[in-house]
Amino acid sequence: MKKSLLTALACLSAAALSTWAMAHGITKPQHGGVVQMNGETMFELVAQPAGVSLYMIDEDEPVNATAMTAKLSVTAKGKRSDVAMVPLKGNRFFAKGLKLAKGANVGVQVADKASGARYGATFIIK
């Protein structure tokens, strides 16, 4: 009886541990960009010839970009430029024509249109 109780407890704690370890879902870039996490939300920034894309994944689920607003704040050489991103299909936002210089500090801020929640992350471009 005691043994089976111990086994059950061991299984339960192992399950709890494994659930915790997986709590943040995907944390690796999905589009060849660079990644920053804010808790369980992954922001992926991708510099492309035509501009800069941002992809958002929240606990393994792609976020619907049209339900959010997104802004990039690029600080370089003592000046900040705020750039509103355009929501595209799926979880992608895009800032057309934007170039990110090496060493720039890039703040990403998103706002949920329904709840008003604002949060984000900051990248240092290498």
């Binding site: 802004k71 000046k79 900040r80 705020d82 500090n105 801020q109 604002r118 949060y119 900051t122």
Partner: protein, 248 residues
């Protein structure tokens, strides 16, 4: 006779200095922390996350700053029992100031929210002001003395990535290092820790305590600016920052 007078004067001066130097009316403070991924302003001490919403009218200033410490517009938003901070862009640093009234007492009695005019026989009368600064993005230059932060804790070097690493902090009073500020390393998880006083250069060095949220607190008792109302100003400042946990 002369010796007696000197000794008596020294005793009175000593008692007065001790009362000015050690009386702290209120250990609570304000700090920034994450709530549901958003930035929130907290009032409390230790695990006491107290009612910030009812205290929000007392908050005098909320500011956000970019990586060059240029201001970003920021406002408070009540969301249920929590006060969230909305900024117009992703900030590197956020700051707040909350005057917390004038408190007086007689002897070892309870503090009452009264001025010296209302309690002329008070032995302690203090104006309390709370300050909070949080580093929420990577710093590309040393943290500046921020407007409105009469007392501010600044890290004197880069924020380490691992807990246990020593970090030197400087406590500023009106933008300059101040000796005698009392510092604790973790207002949330170790609120009763023995306070460490800043040295002549205004600094203390402490190991970073948490691989997560760190809230450093400094209390500095400064001179009164309205002697008819209170005898001292108690400035309680916090500096919050987080160390990231290991990738999963």
């Amino acid at each position: 006779m002369k010796l007696y007078r000197i000794a008596r004067f020294a005793t009175v001066a000593g008692v007065l200095a001790a009362s000015l130097a050690t009386v702290s009316a209120e250990a609570h403070g304000i700090w920034f922390a994450q709530r549901a991924k958003q930035l929130a302003l907290i009032y409390g001490i230790g695990a006491d996350d107290l009612e910030m919403v009812k205290r929000l009218p007392q908050v005098e200033k909320i500011e956000a700053y970019d990586a060059d410490y240029h201001p970003i517009k920021a406002t408070a938003r009540v969301s249920g029992p929590v006060v969230l901070i909305d900024s117009d862009a992703q900030p590197t640093v956020v700051a707040a100031v909350m005057p917390y009234g004038i408190w007086s007492r007689v002897g070892t009695g309870e503090f009452e929210k009264k001025t010296l005019k209302e309690m002329p026989n008070a032995t302690v009368s203090t104006h309390n002001i709370k300050y909070a600064v949080a580093i929420v993005g990577p710093l590309s230059k040393p943290l500046a003395a921020l407007p409105g932060q009469t007392v501010q804790i600044v890290p004197a070097g880069p924020i380490p990535t691992t807990l246990g690493t020593p970090l030197k902090y400087v406590v500023l009073y009106n933008g300059k290092p101040v000796a005698g500020a009392k510092v604790i390393n973790d207002m949330v998880n170790d609120p009763d820790a023995k306070e460490v006083e800043t040295g002549a250069d205004g600094s203390v060095t402490l190991p970073v305590r948490n691989q997560g949220l760190n809230v450093i607190r400094a209390v500095y008792v400064g001179p009164t600016d309205q002697p008819e109302l209170y005898r001292q100003v108690e400035h309680t400042a916090t500096l919050a920052f987080t160390l990231a946990h290991a990738p999963e």
